[in-house]
């Protein structure tokens, strides 16, 4: 296999990300032998669930981002996978590793079954048809309780989910679940990567861009659209199984329509048609829960609503100033960076890199999150002066659009892709 250098660097980048997730997120000290764990159970569980959402987001992005088919029904696929796993584990005593394949297969089969009628639909019509699945799933699960245990839900605790042998002595259950979820997330990211970069993924994108042209290239449009649905559902099914491993309980109420809609939000905020975007979107969505932790909310009766109202506002701002999500913003930053002087570039990137190293060092030596914060403040101080123009430009571009809109003076709404491409070209010309 010939590794082109960008690909190699990307793999390195992902390895770094994975390392970061394994090492940094749940533990500060790699050895779990009784050393104090800075990011303890709560953070571990949160990170595990983030991994589940990453899986769903990857699958949904393959379908919606790359293939252009909207789905508001992904909780139905997650629930299918989760229930398949839970039933096999709780009622038939299968071990976790053995249920992954059935969970993926059953969910994928449902995806195929949905993909076929979906062929004729597009846009809001497809959105409605898939949302119907998410609406129907809880009812179906409650009604046919012989198999699904109905409203009781299925509690899956016991040997099936614990870490094998000596590993079990080293890590707690939650940490083990985290490693399992992380492993699945990493493997599935690689698979998604391969699918997208390969012939199948190109066919998906071709269909999204022009069905007619895709067909005349020899791409069987209906077949690939159905395959996209099935692949997407397989990702969601595996996510469901991982969910069961982490939470240990699944019920019809575990997933609702709003969560389905949230998945879509996740990938748009992260970046459509971007694997990195799926990951960033899912993780940042999980982090929204934490807004309340650092807001001085008090104990008012409705204090918990405040962060969610803010979240709504944040969503609007993010989508407005980053039309291609976080991944798009990063691409744009890269673009900006590419036309800096090398000295500037070194500082702009070296600063944060140094800062991270400093942060790690300080926190390892001194302990506590204070060290990380100090290190980051230093890092930001170094780089802020250089990032500032870009930040201001990014902000004013959004603001300019906003002001223009208020004045009603904006020109005809162009196709954003080309507009953006021209933006980037003008960047290139400078």
């Amino acid at each position: 296999m010939r590794l082109s250098s960008p690909l190699l660097l990307r793999i390195l980048g992902f390895a770094f990300l994975a390392f970061f997730l394994i090492y940094w997120l749940p533990f500060s000290h790699a050895l779990p032998d009784g050393l104090p764990m800075r990011f303890g159970t709560y953070r571990t569980i949160q990170a595990s669930i983030a991994c589940v959402w990453v899986l769903v987001a990857l699958g949904l992005n393959i379908l919606t981002g790359y293939n252009g088919q909207i789905s508001l029904g992904h909780t139905a696929f997650v629930a299918t996978g989760g229930y398949t796993a839970a039933i096999l584990m709780a009622d038939h005593g299968w071990p976790f590793w053995a249920v992954l394949i059935p969970a993926a297969v059953v969910s994928g089969a449902l995806g195929l079954a949905v993909g076929i009628p979906a062929l004729r639909l597009s846009g809001p019509y497809l959105a409605m048809a898939t949302m119907a699945l998410a609406l129907a799933a809880p009812q179906v699960l409650k009604k046919y309780d012989g198999l699904t245990h109905g409203t009781q839900g299925i509690s899956v605790r016991g040997d099936w989910s614990t870490a094998p042998g000596f590993i079990g002595d080293m890590v707690t259950q939650d940490q083990w679940s985290y490693f399992v979820a992380l492993f699945l997330a990493v493997v599935m990211t690689l698979i998604a990567w391969n699918v997208i970069r390969g012939r199948v993924g190109r066919a998906f994108v071709a269909i999204r861009d022009s069905e007619v042209a895709a067909a005349s290239m020899g791409i069987n449009v209906p077949r690939y659209k159905t395959i996209a649905f099935a692949i997407s559902a397989i990702f969601a099914g595996i996510a469901g199984a991982a969910y069961v491993q982490i939470v240990g309980y699944i019920a019809p109420e575990s997933f609702n329509v709003l969560r389905s809609i949230n998945f879509l939000t996740t990938i748009v905020v992260g970046g459509l048609a971007s694997i990195l975007g799926s990951i960033l979107g899912a993780i940042s969505f999980k982090m929204v829960d934490d807004i309340s932790d650092f807001l001085p909310l008090g104990e008012g009766p409705m204090a918990e609503q405040v962060p969610w109202a803010l979240y709504g506002g944040l969503l609007i701002v993010v989508v407005t100033i980053m039309p291609y999500g976080m991944a798009g913003a990063i691409r744009r930053f890269q673009m900006w960076l590419a036309f800096r002087k090398p000295s500037e570039r070194r500082v702009a990137l070296g600063g944060p890199a140094l800062g991270i190293v400093a942060a790690i060092a300080v926190s390892e030596l001194a302990g506590g999150s204070l060290g990380i914060i100090v290190g980051l403040v230093v890092a930001l101080a170094i780089t802020y002066s250089l990032w500032l123009p870009a930040l201001v430009r990014g902000a004013t571009r959004g603001y300019g659009r906003w002001v223009g809109a208020l004045r009603g003076s904006r020109g005809p709404p162009g196709f954003v892709t080309s507009e953006d491409a021209s933006d980037e070209r003008s960047d290139a010309e400078r």
């Binding site: 009628p117 809001p124 009812q139 409650k142 405040v306 979240y311 709504g312 989508v319 906003w402 809109a405």
Partner: protein
């Protein structure tokens, strides 16, 4: 037979509620080709405002006022948050409406609390009208009347008034409309304003039934979305008919399917699968226009 008629009437009564909010969705879809997921929450919000105002004024005065205020709110939203993403991919606009959803539902909870409130001061009382075995309340008839009036009004507006034609033109091809001298921005603002007003009517009628509470419009919104899609998103007539079909189907499925494996628990499921079936046969809804693409 009586039972069937009763169930159909019940379905029609519920369905016209869906149809009412579906009309609001269609209005926005027609001017911007976006599904406004905040539609229900906007209606809930204006209904809460109306409820507060009802302590000071008479119902019908408040009703008119709230329609105007809702229109203003819709216009403001279009200008401030929708305009900056105009021209962005459709999904982005949908996400913006989801952001609005979160803002409205949470702000309403913060301001008015989460407890259900009785929507008092409601002048349309619970008197009933008997037509054979079928019993309908004045409230049901009022909803149906409003749904029909708004539907006809919108039809006439879009079909025969210059403003309505301009709005349709805008939705179909903004650039060309602009070249023809249509103030596209104003059309979009107007679309949102109108739609918020229609939504406000729906909110005013839903609140007495399900009690006034922040989540009250969520289910209505989902049903209305289904209704609009079933009818064909660009057709006001389709929206109402779609709503009625869904309402009646749910009633009948809940009553006449075998209880062992379907029954009322599965009414929603069966209904949505019927919708999917209809969509597979007619991919742009019953009354939707088929769009052909030329190469």
């Amino acid at each position: 037979m009586d039972e069937l008629l009763q169930q159909v009437a019940a379905g029609l009564a519920t369905g016209s509620i869906y149809g009412l909010l579906a009309l609001a969705l269609v209005l926005i879809y027609r001017s911007t080709t976006v599904i406004n997921f905040a539609q229900g929450e906007m209606a809930m919000f204006t209904t809460f405002v109306a409820w507060t105002m009802l302590h000071w004024g008479t119902y019908w005065l408040v009703f008119i006022l709230i329609l105007l205020m809702a229109g203003g709110l819709g216009a403001l939203i279009e200008r401030v948050v929708i305009r900056p993403v105009e021209g962005a991919p459709t999904l982005n606009v949908i996400i913006v409406t989801l952001g609005l959803f979160a803002i409205f539902s949470n702000v309403a909870t913060i301001v008015w609390g989460g407890q259900p409130q009785a929507f008092s001061h409601y002048p349309i009382n619970d008197e009933t009208v008997k037509l054979g075995a079928v019993v309908l309340s004045v409230h049901d008839l009022a909803i149906m009347l409003f749904a029909a009036l708004i539907m006809i009004g919108l039809y006439v507006f879009f079909q025969y008034t210059p403003l309505g034609l301009a709005m349709r033109a805008t939705a179909q091809n903004a650039t060309a409309s602009r070249l023809m001298g249509i103030r596209v921005g104003r059309m979009l603002t107007l679309g949102w304003a109108l739609s918020a007003s229609v939504g406000a009517v729906a909110g005013m009628f839903v609140a007495p039934i399900v009690l006034l509470q922040p989540p009250m419009m969520l289910a209505v919104l989902l049903y209305a979305f289904a209704a609009a899609v079933l009818g064909g998103l660009d057709s006001p007539f389709g929206a109402v008919v779609g709503g009625l079909i869904i309402g009646v189907t749910e009633s009948l499925v809940g009553t006449y399917t075998p209880k062992e494996w379907l029954g009322p628990e599965m009414a929603l499921t069966v209904t949505v699968f019927i919708i999917i079936l209809v969509l597979v046969i007619r991919p742009t809804g019953i009354f939707g226009k088929r769009v052909l693409r030329r190469v």
